[in-house]
């Protein structure tokens, strides 16, 4: 069974600085999708960025980018020019393509604090 591990329960960053959130996963599959979701205090779950495992190029979305290391099974999220609105829980998630993909597995989350 696949697992997703986020080893940093909490992280803190100064406004305008850069922070990297770690995520590792365990799978025997060669093709899959990876996601980062953000959950601000409002409780809503928001997709931040996605990555297809067959793509070697790292995904970017404005200030958000990932470092996808397939061999190492690592999928870290980099937030550049951090803003106060980035303060939230961040969840790394894995979705298989082989078992129908009907189950997305989430890590335990990292709470990000942004200091003014």
């Amino acid at each position: 069974a696949q697992t997703v591990t986020q080893s940093q329960p909490e992280m803190s960053v100064q406004e305008a600085e850069t922070v990297t959130l770690s995520c590792t996963y365990d799978t025997s599959e060669s093709d899959y999708y990876l996601f980062w979701y953000k959950q601000p205090p409002s409780r809503q779950m928001i997709l931040v960025i996605r990555q297809e495992a067959y793509k070697q190029q790292n995904a970017t979305e404005n200030r958000f980018s990932v470092n996808f290391q397939k061999a190492a099974k690592s999928f870290s999220l980099k937030i550049s020019d951090s803003q106060l609105g980035d303060a939230a829980m961040y969840f790394c998630a894995y979705r298989s393509v082989y078992t129908g993909g009907f189950k997305t597995i989430f890590g335990a989350g990292t709470r990000l604090f942004v200091k003014a």
Binding site: Q44, M45, R50, M89, V97, F102, K103, F106, A108, G109
Partner: protein, 117 residues
Amino acid sequence: DTAVSQTPKYLVTQMGNDKSIKCEQNLGHDTMYWYKQDSKKFLKIMFSYNNKELIINETVPNRFSPKSPDKAHLNLHINSLELGDSAVYFCASSQDPRDSTTNSPLHFGNGTRLTVT
């Protein structure tokens, strides 16, 4: 326009009661889900439905009964509520994840905070 809407936002009830949470999506998605987020923020899938058909039942007690009258709706009924059922319940939808042309991210509702006293 709200993409995935679930009601109510908050639900406070006593042990032993029966309650329902409703979910509707207007994204035209084929697949809908229920996730449970516990007090430590851990998210775990409960059910997946595709075109009204149950695909995944992740060892959820049979006090929980999902119902999908059509592919735009997935409701969750809970019988004989227990203290341990207190959590935030998220409805979500996606395109059919078997469609290889899309990476089918989840679109979540705003969650229902259930408190059982």
